[in-house]
């Protein structure tokens, strides 16, 4: 192998298309005869539907179809529960259209299909719905309160699930520990907000008996399976494609969103293509959200700063439904121990319904909350004992020789939580150096003398990534020598077309530009799960690697026959296939592909050249020997990880706070990141940058504000503030590589990591900057107004 592509900063092959505006996002698909849909959404967070009169809408010229619950027939079924769990005793999922009751403002009530979107929206205004408002549960505290109204009349106490996990003897240890503290931490609800909303285009082709749906989704194959079952079609007659997707961050892995059923249904009923595109106002009230939790934690430590035990009891807001089971709070519970040797841990959570948009994983998926709690604990131990916060972390770290480390908990995939590898101290050392941590203290003192408030904060985390069950891939060399790869995962900007090509290029000795990757098309690869949980590179990447290895072996066999050599002596390099000692007599990969398909005729330049070469004729016996496994240079492979692999990292920042206004300026940000072996550093850095920016949004700005009626008060980009380039500082990313022993590439997931520690480290940095005021942050997000208010409260209690 002459060049090694794995690990190289290869420029993205998807860019030239996207840069010219030639991407194909769902809304870019325009089909002949296409109709356009719009959704009528409930204005009430909780109400009984007494009557729906859609006759005026139906009568509007240009309207082709109006669907309400009663028009759905057997499709009026709650969506499947995606991840059942014995602790989830009261699961509830949503109907494609609300029937008797709406449980959140934004719930779909009617679906209109018309000549164009403008008309469809006109028709929405003509639908008359008679609602009887019901009492609303608008917050987690309220949901938990004695005698609270019920989100679902048949779910007592609004409790969807309750789960306890225990490691060691936390109560015993706490009872006899030298130091015990209790605190409450609150995280508010936010939203993933990909720049492209959701969207569906559906086409029914009666000649082929084929339903094709293009969806902005992270999981087309499971959707294909579901739609086939719902519409009684063979699975291979339903094709679901995730074309270019403008960001997902978890919110697009849900299924089924109502529109994913209603749009294909309309296309089937009308025999014409139908498009539904979610606008931003809808996204705010209909795309799943996350983050709301309240933790009450009790923890014990000794005089050396060793954490002895943690008892964490938390409430998790699941909104009106539990479409994704209790994945998010389980991840929170399992992430909390982090990189520390926690041997006595009690975790208890209660999942509560509220009359709000349903909750499913959003980048980080329960982890930022857990890291916030644990890292706040580490900072507090340091403060109580007068130790350096980084030193306290070091004292508690799991050491590199202690892996595999069994945390003792059951993870989201139902398996044990076992860390496969890591080197947490190395990461922290690197961070310390890159931050200039030692020098900073002197700078901080000088600044304080000038009346400026500087602070530093760090946070460490461990992230479970690359979970099963499996992914697969097909790698095929065509006669022009180009390599086509297909896999069931989707891509939402993670550069899979580039990184997957790098993996294949190394095996076949070619340039990654000659490898063309298809993701997210259920017809291109039949099997698979989807892109979530930072798993695509790990699970699909490994499958692609295994398939490419098979193709390489096959190329060697075929070439060995042609050259009358041993397969072991065949090499693949620089796009050529040759006998090691005779590189001047080489075949191209395309020629080997032609020879691997024993037809008596073949076409094209490569075939002609192949004919002219003096190569060995076919061997006696069957044209396709058994050991070839089939014609062509093609192979399929699957990879099923034994369990998740655990990435880790340490982030730090230096901030300046103006205590008069609560304004925070980020002076420096460093992320040290360990995702095992890095396929493409450009891509991984990009993932970390984006994650950190989302984390900064979550730490300071992104709070979905609901009033007591359950109405979202800041449902626009004017009011729900995504960070702009002015809020995000330059970001420094450092890599540590601790390979995973669990997969053939040694990789771990990288997609979510950036987001996870951000809120925690800013809490620490703010505490540090404002130490003279005795500030202790226990909540996120923390916009300037809120910070200002906290400082005010502190000052008045200090005076009192």
């Amino acid at each position: 192998m002459t060049t090694r592509w794995f690990g190289a900063p290869v420029q993205r092959s998807e860019d030239p298309r996207l840069l010219r505006g030639r991407g194909t996002y769902v809304d870019d698909i325009n089909l002949p005869e296409m109709l356009h849909a719009a959704v009528l959404r409930s204005p009430y967070a909780h109400a009984r539907i007494k009557r729906i009169d859609a006759s005026a809408a139906r009568a509007l010229p240009g309207v082709h179809l109006v669907l309400t619950a009663t028009d759905l027939g057997e499709l009026l079924e709650p969506s499947p529960l995606l991840v059942p769990h014995p602790a989830l005793t009261q699961p509830r999922t949503q109907l494609p259209l609300a029937r008797d009751e709406v449980h959140y403002a934004g719930a779909a009530v009617a679906f209109v299909v018309a000549e164009d979107r403008y008309l469809a929206e006109d028709a929405l205004e003509l639908i008359d719905v008679d609602y009887e408002p019901l009492p609303v549960v608008a917050s987690l505290e309220q949901a938990a309160a004695e005698g609270a109204p019920l989100v679902h009349a048949d779910v007592p106490g609004n409790v969807a699930a309750h789960l306890v996990q225990r490691v060691g003897d936390p109560e015993g240890v706490i009872a006899s520990a030298p130091h015990v503290l209790r605190e409450r931490f609150v995280m508010e609800r936010g939203s993933a907000m990909p720049m492209e909303g959701r969207g569906v285009v559906a086409r029914w082709d009666a000649h082929e008996g084929m339903l094709t749906c293009w969806m902005s989704t992270q999981g087309p194959i499971p959707i294909r399976n579901g739609l086939a079952a719902m519409f009684h079609l063979p699975e291979h007659k339903v094709r679901v494609v995730a074309p270019d997707v403008g960001g997902g961050f978890g919110t697009k892995i849900m299924m089924f969103y109502p529109e994913e059923i209603l749009t294909p249904l309309a296309a089937l009923r009308l025999g014409r293509p139908v498009k539904w595109i979610e606008d931003r106002a809808e996204h705010f009230v209909s795309a799943n959200q996350e983050r709301g939790q309240i933790h009450d934690v009790e923890y014990a430590f000794d005089d050396q700063g060793i954490l002895l035990a943690v008892r964490d009891i938390f409430l998790h807001d699941t909104g009106a439904y539990t479409p994704y089971g209790i994945i998010v709070p389980i991840i929170t519970a399992c992430t909390l121990p982090g990189p520390y040797r926690l041997r006595h841990y009690y975790s208890e959570f209660t999942v509560l319904y509220t009359n709000k948009v349903p909750v499913s994983p959003y980048r980080g998926a329960g982890r930022p909350h857990a890291v916030f709690v644990m890292e706040r604990i580490m900072d507090r131990i340091a403060a109580e004992l007068g130790l350096d916060p980084l030193e306290v972390r070091s004292r508690n770290f799991i050491r590199p020789d202690e892996f595999p480390w069994d945390v003792g908990l059951v993870y989201q995939d139902g398996g044990p939580t076992i860390y496969d590898s890591g080197n947490y101290q190395a990461g922290l050392e690197r961070l310390k150096e890159a931050l200039g941590y030692e020098q900073f203290r002197a700078e901080q003192r000088r600044a304080r003398e000038q009346g400026r408030y500087l602070g530093v904060g760090v946070a460490c985390y461990v992230e479970g990534t690359g979970i099963g069950p499996y992914e697969g891939a097909q790698v095929r060399v065509e006669s022009d020598g180009r390599v086509y790869v297909s896999t069931g995962v989707t891509t939402q900007g993670q550069a899979h077309q580039t990184t997957f090509a790098q993996i294949v290029a190394d095996q076949l000795g070619i340039d990654p530009r000659d490898v063309l990757v298809t993701t997210g098309d259920s017809q291109a690869f039949y099997w698979g799960v989807g892109t979530f949980a930072s798993r695509a590179a790990t699970v699909a990447g490994s499958a692609i690697h295994l398939a490419a290895v098979k193709v390489r072996q096959k190329a060697k066999q075929v070439a060995a026959d042609l050259f009358e050599a041993s397969p072991d002596d065949i090499e693949l390099a620089d796009g050529k296939v040759f006998v090691r000692d005779a590189p001047q007599r080489a075949l191209t990969l395309g020629q080997v592909a032609i020879a691997a398909n024993p037809l008596r005729y073949s076409y094209g330049e490569n075939a002609r050249k192949l004919m002219q070469m003096q190569l060995a004729g076919p061997r006696p016996g069957p044209a396709l020997p058994e050991e070839r496994g089939g014609p062509g240079l093609e192979a399929t492979a699957f990879y099923s990880p034994p369990r998740g692999t655990f990435a880790s990292g340490a982030h730090g920042a230096i901030v300046e706070v103006d205590p008069r206004t609560g304004m925070v300026t980020i002076l420096k940000y460093v992320a040290v990141h360990d995702c095992g072996r890095v396929i493409n550093p450009l891509v991984v850095e990009g993932q970390v940058h984006g994650g950190v920016a989302q984390g900064i949004g979550g730490a300071f700005y992104e709070r979905l504000v609901f009033n007591e009626e359950g109405q979202l008060l800041n449902g626009s980009f004017m009011d729900y503030l995504l960070p702009t380039v002015e809020e995000i500082p330059p970001l420094q990313v450092e890599h540590i590589e601790t390979p995973s022993p669990l997969n053939p590439l040694g990789v771990k997931g990288a997609g979510e990591a950036g987001t996870i520690p951000v809120a925690a480290l800013f809490a620490a940095a703010l505490d540090d900057a404002l130490a003279p005021f005795g500030l202790r942050i226990r909540e996120m997000p923390l916009d300037p107004c809120r910070l200002h208010k906290l400082l005010k409260e502190l000052q008045s209690t200090q005076r009192a």
């Binding site: 420029q11 993205r12 998807e14 860019d15 030239p16 996207l18 840069l19 010219r20 505006g21 030639r22 991407g23 194909t24 996002y25 809304d27 870019d28 325009n30 979107r117 403008y118 993933a192 907000m193 990909p194 720049m195 492209e196 909303g197 270019d244 997707v245 403008g246 960001g247 961050f249 606008d279 931003r280 106002a281 939402q492 900007g493 993670q494 550069a495 450009l682 891509v683 850095e685 990009g686 993932q687 970390v688 940058h689 984006g690 994650g691 950190v692 920016a693 989302q694 626009s716 980009f717 004017m718 995504l722 702009t724 380039v725 002015e726 995000i728 330059p730 970001l731 950036g754």
Partner: protein
Amino acid sequence: MYAFEEPGSPPQFCEEYDLTVTVNGRLYQRRVPVRMLLSDFLRHELQLTGTHVGCEHGVCGCCTVLLNGEAVRSCLLLAVQVDNMALTTIEGLAGSSEELHPIQRAFQEKHALQCGFCTPGFIMSVHAFLHENPEPDEQQIRQGLAGNLCRCTGYHNIVEAVKLAAHYLRSSQSQREEA
């Protein structure tokens, strides 16, 4: 409904309008509903789908196009408002040439895009910005781009790309001057 006043005649309401507009150097004449947004006109009537719609309320900047050389948000304009004007969209930047425009090239080289949804809007904004500020410092770049949202990149590489694009544009400018 939209009112057009002929001088001297009572106001007339019409629902459709005959629009003439030049986009990427090509003249188009279309009859459009007066309420149609410019973004929808470009995307659905002219099939120029490189202009994206991320919010439809003027904040995200995904829909940015050049109107007589200035960056505007096409979701905040009606198609009828650009009657007899000239627009450039992302499709018109490099045209059909093999080469990417220097701004596009800089975005690729600095890995300044991920999902690519915000990218056309950014590139059009950067185009207008660098025209006004050919030698921006980092702070000016950040101020100049604060009207575009990106949810994927964390902006770090976008800022780097703008620095590089400024450099490319300046050097091609000086080459032209020398020639």
